[in-house]
Subunit: 310 residues, 2 copies
């Protein structure tokens, strides 16, 4: 017999979704309330699994088919999540990939570029300005506020690991956000004195920005060893589009020639025979994802070649 479960004080269970789509070559997440909330809903006990519960209300609420879904993390931090109500909430978050493709300039209301929340994570055009301009100086000031030199050293090392321009690691999205949180540089951190002149990057309610950071981090790590990009692509695409998609997710530029070689070396795609109506320049061959690959190999991703010079 397993130990009895908690019998006093019911704890609410909430499901959160980081729903990602590529719209206009930009990674976007579905949000509510002017971009301040991720879609979330209760887990009713009447679903056979957590995933089916999630799919049910996400599709009801957003009218989007939900393709690839994967669990992210389960939080129950009293201090952060539901700071308001005395009610205890356990929130289980998921990453979902969908194929929404709105080509018009006017975006649907709910979709927001994820770089709106993490402007320092977008290195596609070189080092992002807000990083050197605002973020780093504030971090350095935070380091200096520690009186204990050991603490200062530790803080400096963590800053170096996570934010060093020379060796930027795009996967550390969550760690970077957590460090900013700890340093009191994001409004979500609360604290006595409200953050004056907050950092660039829109905040979210509760710990939703942390959940978003978890989702981005997971996705960035995953595209390197599993072919998940294709869940976000239309059925047919050019290699250029594919590269733009990967760059958008990874937040950094890629070396064109090597990217192409890696992709077809791995047998991830096949030509459809057609070519695209060019968007400038020479028309490009269209490709489609070879779904069979999922059954052929255990690991197969779009490994990222190093960044192109500029």
């Amino acid at each position: 017999m397993p130990p009895a479960a908690n019998r006093s004080r019911p704890i609410a269970i909430e499901l959160n979704a980081v729903l990602v789509a590529l719209i206009d070559e930009e990674p976007q997440v579905l949000t509510l309330e002017e971009g301040a909330l991720l879609p979330s809903g209760p887990f009713e006990g009447d679903h056979p699994t957590l995933q089916t519960g999630l799919r049910a209300w996400v599709e009801r609420q957003t009218h989007h088919p939900l393709g690839y879904v994967e669990q992210l993390y389960t939080f129950a931090d009293r201090s952060r999540a539901a700071a308001t109500s005395g009610r205890r909430i356990v929130s289980i978050s998921y990453l979902g990939l969908t194929r929404e493709r709105v080509t018009a300039a006017g975006h649907e209301p709910g979709w927001q570029s994820w770089y709106r929340y993490f402007p320092w994570e977008d290195w596609r055009g070189g080092p992002p300005a807000p990083l050197a301009r605002q973020l780093m100086p504030r971090l350095r000031r935070w380091i200096d506020t520690a009186s204990d030199p050991a603490v200062r050293r530790s803080r400096r090392q963590r800053m170096d690991i996570n934010f060093a321009e020379a060796s930027w690691n795009e996967d550390l999205v969550l760690q970077r956000y957590e460090l900013l949180y700890e340093a009191g540089l994001v409004p979500e951190a609360g604290g006595r004195r409200p953050v004056t002149d907050p950092l660039p990057g829109a905040p979210m309610h509760y710990d939703h920005r942390r959940i978003l950071a978890t989702g981005i981090a997971r996705l960035r790590a995953k595209i390197k060893y599993r072919p998940v990009v294709f869940e976000l692509m239309p059925p047919d695409f050019t290699l250029g589009q594919l590269q733009l998609a990967v760059e958008a997710l990874a937040g950094r530029p890629l070396h064109k020639q090597n990217f192409r070689r890696l992709i077809d070396q791995q047998g991830l795609v096949e030509e459809t025979g057609a070519v695209s109506a060019a968007t400038g320049g020479r028309p490009a061959k269209l490709y489609r994802f070879r779904r069979e690959i999922l059954l052929e190999r255990a690991v197969a991703g779009s490994k990222l070649p190093l960044s192109r010079s500029s």
Copy 2:
């Protein structure tokens, strides 16, 4: 305002722990009830975070200091987890690493080698006998029971990916178990007819063996890019011991020379100056883990060199 959380029918929240230690060079997990259960306890709402809740009762229940802890997964499958009571249970599982070192032959009651549950995962001595002898034939029979040739093809491909001897991937512990579950080859799968002549490998109650598989898979993947092995090692160790430890976790033999080179190339360890009382052969230098590395680099693991020939 976020959507309101579930207000009817309280759902119990349970924490499960896969607690791993290396005892006698063997990876062992802490169990209860003759090895049929993982330690688990309720999440009481009065802990600030899930981790502190976990630490609290694990340390109370087992009297073990709990070092490294990481979340594994959250399940709520009605069909599998709490098949007995009508009560709905959400179980949040954790992986914990501890430094228990019982050198005596008579093990403490609760510790079990994890290969007791997954004998086909131990390739340290070459291809495990139960695999070719019992497991593969049963899987092949399962493939043939499908009438639809498309289903047969799909099943065969999944078997090939996950169980092919030629390209054995030690990280797929969970996928392999899930496939066996689906094929009805493990007792836990239940079903009308009880499994006659079950596969080698001890079963566990509820979905605890699935949780264990998740923990092993996570740990095997992680040792390749984060220095978590050292959480399981004594403060001082020889490179030989370290290699045995990694082999025990990965379940496969490693190439000695390359293992050594990788380890010190990465600056993971430093000599203590002392040498060990030899266990046969020439005395070995003792090393200790350079904890500073955690602050120096974002990624640093004991990458696995390929297996030695025999």
